[in-house]
């Protein structure tokens, strides 16, 4: 009994003394510690849940591109210790997070808001620093009372409302990276060290604060508190300030560098449109509209994007929206007369306006172009109703 008590006491002392002064994996004296190994195993279990959730955005070309950027940011020897992998989550919310294992998850929402590769590199470099500088294990060693920590996490999730959804999917490690954030000290380190990495990789550091500014503007417009990526990190304003001060001191006078706007936008154009559809599902009409417009500005005329703009206006149904929706649907039809959804959109507008002849014609066209339409039963009912009292 006495020995058990002594062993327990020793364990507690040892656990309490476990140092948080761990060298980054980028240094030569890196030792993969036992508790870190356990943390990695747990992280892998959490990653499995996410990877099998149906939330992973599938785009092989984009995955290859993201990996290429990651390889520009960190040298090959770092990849030997941390096999970085970048995955994209189908979520329009602005977030990105890293597991200690080097698996980084970027939401479609945050990618869709970026202008160029330099901004993407800024975000990736930040997340990579969390892994290379072993912030997760440091943070866990710092937490003397795990129960209290878990309780805090639960309270935080509870107050996040809809943003807490994804947190409940993640385990403790994912929640640390994605929701509660690391300590302010670690976040600042990730910002500053990340900036050094992107400068060394040849990217334009002046793009870093622009990424944060973009996001700040959008969050203000949505009248939301800063969620996730900014949640308990240094407040966004302060972050922009830190970033600018750092550029003014460490990289004074240094301007220019790789931006790669065109390549970047080409690689993510499909994602931008898909993300706009997700924003529409969330009823974030303005953001969805902006996404569709951004897609059009990259790829030129695409009936799918015009049709999406039509859907946004039709579903929002505020003053002047029906007219705008009609214009967008007609634009889509003029670009591709056999694009079915635009005919359906027109048909629904006519149907609601009781223009039964026009409605019937558009809806019949829709069904003839899309015979397997999942909403066929509704459309057939509208067509039957149009037949009963024909007008216009």
């Amino acid at each position: 009994m006495r020995y058990t008590a002594l062993t327990l006491l020793s364990c507690l002392i040892l656990a309490g003394c476990a140092t948080t002064q761990l060298a980054p994996v980028t240094t030569g004296d890196f030792i993969f510690e036992d508790d870190e190994k356990r943390l990695w195993l747990r992280a892998e279990e959490e990653q499995d849940v996410l990877n099998n959730s149906g939330l992973i955005y599938e785009d092989e070309e984009l995955d290859v591109y993201l990996k290429e950027i990651a390889k520009k940011i960190q040298p090959p020897e770092v990849f030997e210790h941390i096999p970085f992998e970048i995955k994209v989550i189908e979520s329009p919310y602005l977030n990105a997070f890293a597991f200690p294992t080097g698996v980084i998850y970027l939401h479609t929402g945050i990618l869709a808001r970026m202008d160029n590769e330099a901004q993407l590199a800024t975000l990736l470099a930040h997340e990579m620093i969390h892994s290379t500088h072993r912030h997760a294990v440091k943070q866990f060693r710092n937490i003397k009372n795990m129960t209290a920590f878990l309780a805090t996490v639960q309270v935080t999730i509870g107050t996040l409302g809809v943003y807490g959804d994804i947190a409940s999917l993640l385990g403790t490690i994912g929640t640390l990276g994605a929701v509660t954030g690391y300590s302010r000290k670690h976040e600042t380190e990730a910002d500053m060290e990340g900036l050094k990495r992107i400068v060394e990789a040849g990217y334009d550091p002046a793009e870093a604060p622009k990424l944060f500014m973009h996001l700040k503007e959008e969050l203000e417009e949505e009248k939301r508190k800063e969620p996730f990526f900014f949640g308990t990190h240094p407040r966004l304003k302060e972050r922009i300030q830190n970033c600018e001060t750092f550029l003014e001191t460490e990289y004074r006078g240094q301007r220019g560098g790789i931006k790669n706007s065109e390549t970047f936008l080409k690689k993510i154009d499909k994602l931008i449109l898909d993300n706009a559809c997700l924003d529409l599902k969330l009823g974030r009409f303005k953001i969805a509209e902006r996404g569709a417009a951004k897609y059009l500005s990259i790829g030129g005329n695409d009936p799918k994007a015009y049709c999406l703009l039509g859907e946004i206006c039709r579903q929002r149904d505020e003053e002047g929206d029906r007219e705008k929706a009609e214009e967008y649907y007609q634009r889509a039809i003029s670009l591709d007369p056999v694009y079915p959804d635009a005919h359906k959109g027109m048909g629904l507008i006519y149907y609601k306006e009781n223009k039964t002849i026009l409605a019937k014609k558009s809806l019949q066209t829709y069904l003839s172009l899309s015979p397997q339409a999942s909403d066929r039963a509704y459309i057939e009912e509208y067509i039957r109703n149009c037949g009963e009292g024909e007008k216009q």
Partner: protein, 181 residues
């Protein structure tokens, strides 16, 4: 202030009890009546009624009445009086699929339906919860005046769903509005 409100709420929720049901159930404040199966348990919340036999996580029938102005949980979209049943269904589905704890969400069927004489929708969908359990749901709904009414049956896809499907159909058939404006 918020803390006290939370404590009061916790007490209220703590007091809400499951009661055994069976036979005609009338909810005047929610303006509907329905025949509930014998031996099931019922729980009422402000906008919803839940009944279950094997436990809510395995199978339940939920009847809800929501004011169309009331914000939904996962989408900013709202119901409106002049929506077509298909549009009402879309809002319901968007609200469910935007919940990020609803995984591998798939719509199996989405068709027009009559609910207590009102034009509405019937959607069948499957999804997995965060523990990997596959669930199947049938959801009926319609909007009349200021209100959205929904009747939904959800159960574990294997074994439980088929077991109580007929019971749900009887509950659905018996659903009526008490006063029609």
């Amino acid at each position: 202030m918020k803390r006290y409100l939370l404590i009061v709420l916790l007490f209220v929720v703590g007091c809400a009890a499951w009661v055994k049901v069976g036979g005609l159930y009338k909810s005047k404040p929610h303006n509907f009546s329905v025949e509930l199966p014998s031996g099931w348990m019922r729980l009422n919340t402000r906008d919803r009624l839940y009944i279950t036999r094997d436990g809510v996580l395995l199978q339940n029938i939920m009847i809800e009445r929501l004011n169309i102005e009331k914000p939904l949980e996962h989408t900013k979209k709202k119901f409106s009086k002049d929506m077509l049943p298909q549009e009402v269904a879309e809002v319901v589905l968007d609200n469910i699929s935007a919940d990020q704890t609803v995984l591998n969400f798939e719509v199996v069927e989405n068709i027009p339906a009559r609910i207590s004489g009102f034009p509405g929708f019937k959607v069948v969908f499957t999804y997995k919860n965060k523990d990997g359990l596959k669930l199947k749901s049938i959801s009926y709904g319609f909007v009349t005046n200021e209100w959205f009414y929904g009747i939904r049956y959800t159960a574990a896809h294997r074994y439980y769903f088929d077991k109580d499907l007929k019971t749900f159909e009887r509950v659905f058939e018996s659903f009526k509005l008490i006063k029609i404006a």
